[in-house]
Structures are given as C-alpha cells and as structure tokens.
Amino acid sequence: MKRGISTLAVLTSIMLCLALYFALAQPDWPFGTPTERTMGYVQRIFYYHVPSAWTAFLLFFINLGASIVYLARRSPKADIVALVSAEVGVVFCTVVLVTGPIWARPVWGIWWDADDIRLQSTLIMWLIYVSYLILRRVSTSSLTAVVAAVVAILGALLVPFVFFSIWFYRTQHPSPVIAHGGSLDPHMAFVLLFNWAAFLCLAGLVCWTRYRLEIAKREVEEAQALESLMETSR
C-alpha cells in the first residue's frame, strides 16, 4: 500500500508539472499549445476549469454509488468512500465555480449567467454537497452514515429537476446566446485530456490518502471508546 501511494504521488507530481507546462506554453515553445483566436491567453483557464468539472462530477457519482452500497449493505468502507469522494468533489467543484467567473468576465463581460444550465446545476450540486458535509460534521446521531447516504440519494434525485427547470425557463425567456461550441483544435484536445488525467491522478492521490486517514481515525476512536468502556466497567 505504501509503495502504491508513493508511486502515485510521484506520478501525480510529474503529470501536474507537465500539464501546467502544456497548458501555459506558447506555440513557439516546444510542445506549446496554440492560443485561442478570439479569447486570447485567458482561454487557457479552460484547461483547469473543464477537467475540474469532469473530476468533480465523477467524484459526486462515486459518492452516489457508495451511498447506495452503504444503504444496501451497511459496509463501513462504503461509508468512508462516500465521505472521501464528497470532500474531494467539493474541492474540485469549488475550483470550477471560481475559475468559471474568472474566465467569463473578460471573455463574455459577465460574471454570472443565471440562465446557464451547467452553471446552475454545478452550483446546486456544490450546495447540496456542502450541506452534506456540514450534516456529517454536526450530526450527533449514532447512524450519521445512514442519514448522509439518504441525503446523497435525494440529491441525485434532484438533478433532473434542476436541469429541466432551467432548460424550460430558457425556452420561455430566451437570453442572448453565448457561444460555447466550436470545434476543438486537436492540440488543445490533447492538453485538455492530459490535464484531466493529471487531475484524476491528483484526485486519486488525495482520496486514497484521506481514505487511509479516515480508517486510522476510526480505529483510534474505537480504541478510545473501548478503553473508556473498560475503565467505567471496572
């Protein structure tokens, strides 16, 4: 296990450095990426914004799966996976929500677009998971894991309604179209995917470390509880 984590840590550092270089390097440098024609240099934040979003959604999906497994089997490992993926997912989601407006303001002139489906649904997922983490922290119930799993499942049920309500609102109140599309230069696509791979390595590393930390923490808590139980029964 220890060697696995060290290997992953080294791999992650290498990939992140390379990813940073590829994202920021100008075309006249070796392995540079072309600067986008209309948006300019600020477009490069795209290489952090999009992979963070994909990573965050993947982690939230893992959280949903772990919550369902926990409710079905009550396995403590599933609960820890749920907790870990929620925590790291919230971090990546925060990155998405912060880099998004930073990118949007110079490019489109607006910080926030209330009618954008992806933006609103990302915000709502962030809200649900922050509430999830706060619930986990302040809950005094002995079965916090069950309650948290239920909240995660309800959150998943909410997502289609969020998409529908914003989509339908836009059909009734058409807003100026902000071009999201356009084809992707293959060079840019490579850098995007490479960044995603680097972020996945980082997410995996942090999740794995947090997982081991949580297991150790729970073992310590159990040992302490057992010890105090022994003392009181004496």
Binding site: S131, I134, S141, V146, I153, V162, F164, I166, Y169
Partner: protein, 224 residues
Amino acid sequence: MSFFSITRATLEKDIRLEWRSKDAINSMLYFALLVVVIFSHSFSPTAEESRRIAGGLVWVAFLFAALVALNQTWARELRNQVLDAYRVSPAPATPLFLAKALGNFLFVIILEALMTPLFIIFYNLRAVGPTLQLVPIAFFGTWALVVNGTFFAAISLRTRNREIMLPLLLFPFSIPAMMGMVNATTAVLTGEYSARVWIAMLLAYDVVFTVAGLYLFESILDAE
C-alpha cells in the same frame, strides 16, 4: 392498524393539540404579517412591475414562514420521549411521516391563505391570467416545500445546531421547486405565458420526493 388509520390518528392528535394550545399558530400568524410588511417596505414597485416580481416575493415569504412552522414540527415529539415511544411501538414509521407532513401542509396553507390577501392589498395585485390555476400552484408548491421540510426536520433533530441545519438542507433542494412556483405564479399574474408545464413539473417533483421520503423515512427515524 392500517396505514391510513395510523396516519389519521397521528394527524388528529397533532391538530387537536395545536387547536387546544394554539401554541404555534398565533405567533406564526403574526410572523407572517410582519414578513409581508417588511417585504412591502423593502420592495415598493409600481403596479406594472409588481406583477412581474410578486411571484418571487410571495414565495420567498412563504418559504420563510414555512421554515418557522417546520422547525417546530418534531419539537413536540421530543418532549416526554414521545418519539422514542413511537419507535418502540409496532407501528411503521411511514404513516408518522405522512401525518406530520400533512399537518405541516395544512398549517402552511392556512398561513398562505392569510398572507395572500395582505400581499394583494400591499402590492395592489390583480391577476391577468387564469386565477384558478393559482390553486394547484399553491397546493403543489406548498407540498413540495413541506414534504422535504418535514423529512429534513427529522434529520436535523440529532444535530448540534438544529435550527440552522434545516434551512441548510432544505434550501438547495427547494431551488427547482421554487423556480416552478415562482414562474407559475408570475405566469398567472402577468398572463404572458402558460403556467401549465411548471405545474406539471411541480407535480412530478412532489411525486418523486414524496415517494422517496416515504421510502427512506424508516432509515432516518432509526438513525435519529
């Protein structure tokens, strides 16, 4: 005992207790009036503008009034360990949830029925669209808030900051429902577009979260 008889018994108990003590209802009615007055001082639009924003104002006011009602939902059950007694009894937990939700629903509907004329007066509202649609909007919208609110109020029982945990959980979940309620109400008030799809969405939201709440309540109650 059947599901519905347990639900009815619990609902009758709650209504009877509330009717005799008039604990919550007096303060909540007055709170509702104060909310309307504060809103009318904060936003004083012209008659034309008010039709566009009244939907949002009204439903935000209802949300906060409902929050006050929801916070004390389970408080009565904690006194004298009534909730523990219920859990020990052979009765399933699901009718308890339904009865609590129905009780809250009645309560919030009464609050809304009293707040609405006040809003009409303060904002000089007059609906241009089909007014009758406001009834399903009010019913489906209130149920959407109440069913989730009752569920999350039960979750918040065993937390360190009970009063703040309920809105922290309820507000993100209410966002699509709020969009539905506000847009449907604005549609009826301005008459500019149809509220039907929003009403259908609210109904779908209600069905999904009622079923999910009923199914998952047993797990929550045991965890409490």
